[in-house]
Amino acid sequence: GIQVEQSPPDLILQEGANSTLRCNFSDSVNNLQWFHQNPWGQLINLFYIPSGTKQNGRLSATTVATERYSLLYISSSQTTDSGVYFCAANSGTYKYIFGTGTRLKVLA
């Protein structure tokens, strides 16, 4: 089955800094999503992006399906951006496979 890898595993930023999170996947995908998991465990949808580029405020994402990777950009980071960011994808089956996540801490 498809494998999903995320990097970096941990990231510490000063408030106002920009960052790029990466998600590599081992096969072509039908569906790909980025989530932010808050400290209470809630998974918040950031982007549904099996291909192309999307932007939502300070966040944007790009998936290059032919090269099997997706990037999540966070600009002008805020302390509320802290948490774990997950990439999840599926390919030909009905189960989404999650990466191991990137733990982001933004310092004031």
Binding site: N31, A88, K95
Partner: protein, 114 residues
């Protein structure tokens, strides 16, 4: 509109007991998936149900079972609980268009097995 709801929020059980977790999908969504998230890891797929039929199962023992009701709500049952079943259990619902669908997650049920 209400999002995905799950109950209970927290649960403490003893080894060997049985537990039932509940999930109500977003209105209009016919697909429900269950995931287990152990501390420090990403969610792991357990089941997917669509129109009351099991459509996918992850690598979990037969102690785990689920069903979906005519109103598309779902239950996850775990029998003979082990300490290793302690985790956050997440439910997701989706509206499908062919093979393309976006999942929306509920707040989860945190299960502690002692």
């Amino acid at each position: 509109d209400a999002g995905v709801t799950q109950s209970p929020t927290h649960l403490i059980k003893t080894r060997g007991q049985q537990v039932t977790l509940r999930c109500s999908p977003i209105s209009g969504h016919k697909s429900v998936s269950w995931y287990q998230q152990v501390l420090g890891q990403g969610p792991q797929f357990i089941f997917q149900y669509y129109e009351k039929e099991e459509r996918g199962r992850g690598n979990f023992p037969d102690r785990f079972s689920a069903r979906q009701f005519p109103n598309y709500s779902s239950e996850l049952n775990v029998n003979a609980l082990l300490l290793g079943d302690s985790a956050l259990y997440l439910c997701a619902s989706s509206f499908e268009q062919a093979v393309y669908y976006e999942q929306y997650f509920g707040p989860g049920t945190r299960l502690t097995v002692t």
